[in-house]
């Protein structure tokens, strides 16, 4: 490697790390991104100096086409399709790593060193697995493949067996690098495994899996680095691998599931029992604390709709603390007080006064109902009947004609409640199934406190 390339790689590594650290807070994130982009440019520049490269023709064409596709995808895909996009992208990443491995192997399988072979094997294994696994995840999210978890007998056992099989093949390959059959078989089994691992996983848990596949993609890149002795690949891959792994652990913990469940698809069942039962016939969107925090903090105007659940959870102080935090970030917070929220006249007033919410933030339904359309977030804290749009739209509903809070008109509606149980009036609430509504299940006080922490 030339000194210039070496320096460029070193620079790229440092820039990646600094860039990634920038993600530590919303203010520095974009700068971090820019720094990483420079790092990537440095790494590419370093590579283009590589003496083995004899023509830039193919590179230019493929990179040009790839960039065009990338730009198009970034510009056209709506924000709500983010998980799908990331999944698809991982599958590209996995494929790229696998193909580089195959290409290397095809050239050097006679001469390759044992240790290099190990690295190459890893690369292809993880690359293949990521490729098909991510493709499956994408398909599920897009609805091409049934989103519900698919289970069959001995699912975990067979997956574990297959995993052991690929591991064994890898070992064999490291010992006898030249046996091509082992290599291609391993590649194939890894790809099958990718499919099987993702099949049993339900839609709600997909983000965890995607993050895990991200981690695998990183490991594949690291393995490439070992194979071609390139530190920047090792480092970037390790950054990805570790952060993706931890992120999936963090996310599964936030969903109150052990990570073991995630790895072995067993939580597909927990999913079936808990979330599905919750949702009843409705197709709802469950969100994590992090999602809720992001939605809240990325808005400019939040309207809180408190209800009886806030009173039950005695969440008024937690709500006020969250509002203070949002206001400190320059976000406007108002409370929409429905006249019959709670169980006695003025129930919300009594509680919010106790929590020292300034009177001028409290707005009556009539007064604020027009503002929902401009609000970024309607935060429904343990309210149900008073935000039920059926009162406006469904003449056969027992509450038809009652004025309700227009929480459904806000750009996003975040609902905090414990279960899918109905409120006082005992009727279903279609707000919960609307496309711009997300639900965060749990005691409202607890949830609000966690959201505050996430924003800290």
């Amino acid at each position: 490697m030339s000194m210039t390339a070496e320096l460029l790689y070193f620079l790229a590594s440092v820039l990646f790390i600094i860039g990634l650290r920038g993600l530590g807070s919303a203010e520095t994130a974009r700068r971090g991104l820019l720094i990483s982009e420079v790092g990537m440019a440095a790494a590419v520049a370093g590579t283009l100096l590589h003496p083995d490269i004899v023509t830039y023709k193919w590179i230019l064409i493929s990179a040009g086409v790839g960039s065009a596709i990338g730009i198009a995808m970034a510009a056209l895909i709506p924000m709500t399709k983010m998980p799908e996009r990331i999944a698809l992208s991982h599958s590209f990443g996995g494929l790229a790593a696998a193909l580089v491995g195959v290409s290397e192997y095809s050239l050097h399988h006679q001469t390759v060193a044992h240790s290099t072979m190990g690295a190459l094997g890893f690369e292809v294994l993880f690359g293949g697995l990521t490729f098909t696994g991510s493709l499956m995840a994408f398909g599920k999210l897009q609805g091409f493949i049934p989103g519900r978890n698919i289970t069959y007998p001995f699912q975990n056992q067979s997956n574990i067996a297959m995993f052991a099989g690929t591991a064994l093949l890898l070992v064999l390959l490291t010992i006898w690098p030249s046996v091509q059959f082992f290599f291609y078989l391993m590649f194939f089994v890894a790809m099958v495994l990718g499919v099987l691992i993702v099949i049993p996983i339900g839609g709600a848990d997909m983000p965890v899996v995607i993050s895990l596949l991200n981690s695998y993609a990183g490991l594949a890149a690291s393995a490439t680095g070992f194979a071609i002795d390139n530190n920047v690949l090792i480092i970037a891959g390790a950054l990805d691998g570790a952060s993706g792994f931890i992120l999936s652990v963090v996310m599964s913990r936030a969903m109150n599931r052990s990570f073991g469940n995630v790895l072995f698809g067993a939580f597909g069942k927990a999913d079936a029992s808990a979330v599905a039962a919750l949702a009843g016939s409705q197709e709802i969107h469950e969100a994590t604390i992090g999602d809720a925090a992001m939605l809240l903090s990325s808005g400019q105007k939040v309207i809180v709709c408190p209800g009886y659940g806030m009173a039950v959870a005695q969440a008024q102080h937690a709500m006020q603390a969250l509002a203070e935090r949002l206001e400190a970030e320059g976000i406007e917070v108002k409370y929409a007080i429905h006249p019959v929220a709670g169980r006695m006249p003025g129930h919300m007033n009594v509680l919010l006064a106790e929590a020292n919410v300034p009177y001028d933030q409290l707005k009556e339904a009539d007064e604020i109902n027009d503002e929902f359309a401009e609000a970024d977030v309607a935060l429904v804290v343990g309210a149900n009947d008073v935000v039920n749009p059926a009162a406006k739209t469904n003449p056969s509903s027992p509450i038809y004609g009652m004025p309700v809070l227009n929480a459904d008109l806000a750009k996003t509606c975040i609902v905090l409640k414990r279960t899918m149980n109905p409120g006082f009036a005992g009727i279903e609430n279609e707000l919960f199934a609307m496309p711009n509504t997300v639900l965060v299940f749990g005691d409202a006080k607890d949830t609000l406190e966690k959201i505050s922490q996430a924003l800290a």
Binding site: Y308, A311, V312, Q314, P339, V340, G342, R343, M344, P345, G346, H347, V350, L351, A353, E354, D385, P398, I399, Y400, G401, M402, F424, A425
Partner: protein
Amino acid sequence: MKIAVPKEVREGERRVALVPESIARLIKKGVEVVVESGGGAQAGFADDAYRAAGAGIIDSRAALLGQADTVVQINVPVADTVAAMRPGATSTSLLFPLAHHDLVRELRDKQLTSISLDRIPRTTLAQSMDVLSSQATVAGYRAVLTAAQHLPKLFPLLMTAAGRIDPAKVVILGAGVAGLVAIGIARRLGAVVEAYDVRAVVKEQVESLGAKFIDVGTQADAQTAGGYAKEVSEDFQRRANEVIAGHLAEADVCITTALIPGRPAPRLVTAEMARRMKPGSVIVDLAAEQGGNCELTRADQEVVDNGITVLGPTNLPSDAAKDASRMFSRNVEKLLLYILKDGRLDIDFAKEIVRGCVVTHEGKIVDTQVAESVGA
């Protein structure tokens, strides 16, 4: 259509059934409103304010009632009023028809349509017309004030150079609307509050206000489908009372609000229980009109027995006449707007709310429960 708002004739009544604000909104919907001169004065609404809102002011009560298509009042109409009304007109007021059989017959015979505001069904939709709730809110607030006013000690805990003043202990029996509001207000004033109700769902509601629910052993669950309470067995009540007695002995204030629709008020505090309270303690009994939750209660009197003051105010909302009138008026306004069609009342029995509150119509008692009770 002409709506008439006479002055209330009940003794000590300071409220008025419609306030200028509501009248202005009603007039926009194409009705005419006339108000008896001085009708709102005691609630703080001068004749001028009514005129400004577009209402006519009429001095003669007879003339007022005689020309009205709809008469809106708060209290149960007196015979004179009914007599002065035009046949076919509508009377809107509290009526409690199950307790006023003669009056119901009179209304029927006079071909009056009578709307009994106390019988508006307690559905989510009808809450904005529910005068019982709105007046109970005011009553709950005033009950705490009345208790505080009569209590020779302070409500909040204070640790001062002149010693420690312990917080008042307040026990609230019956936690319907008035009871819950009283809990909230008493807590705000710094009291330590405990509450009891016979309906099981109330425990969560009491706790949602930061008060303690009194556990009487096995909690009854005496809730009817309509959300009201039903009577419990004597035996159960006795056992509950024993527990309550213990809490009362420690209390400075007891506010009782327990009611069962159409029945005499349950006896939650016996004379003996009351006398075991600390000297200077105060009992405010909101069920005085229905016989009282406390044995010592005498309606609208201040009874002092063994150093315990027992109050049985029957018209607490009238003490906060301005806000109480506003709320009552808003309820009636919502009801009228709900029933109004093309500038006149449209008594459409397909509507659940109309079915619930209209007692007599076109010479018939249309409410079957009332009809049965009146026996006609």
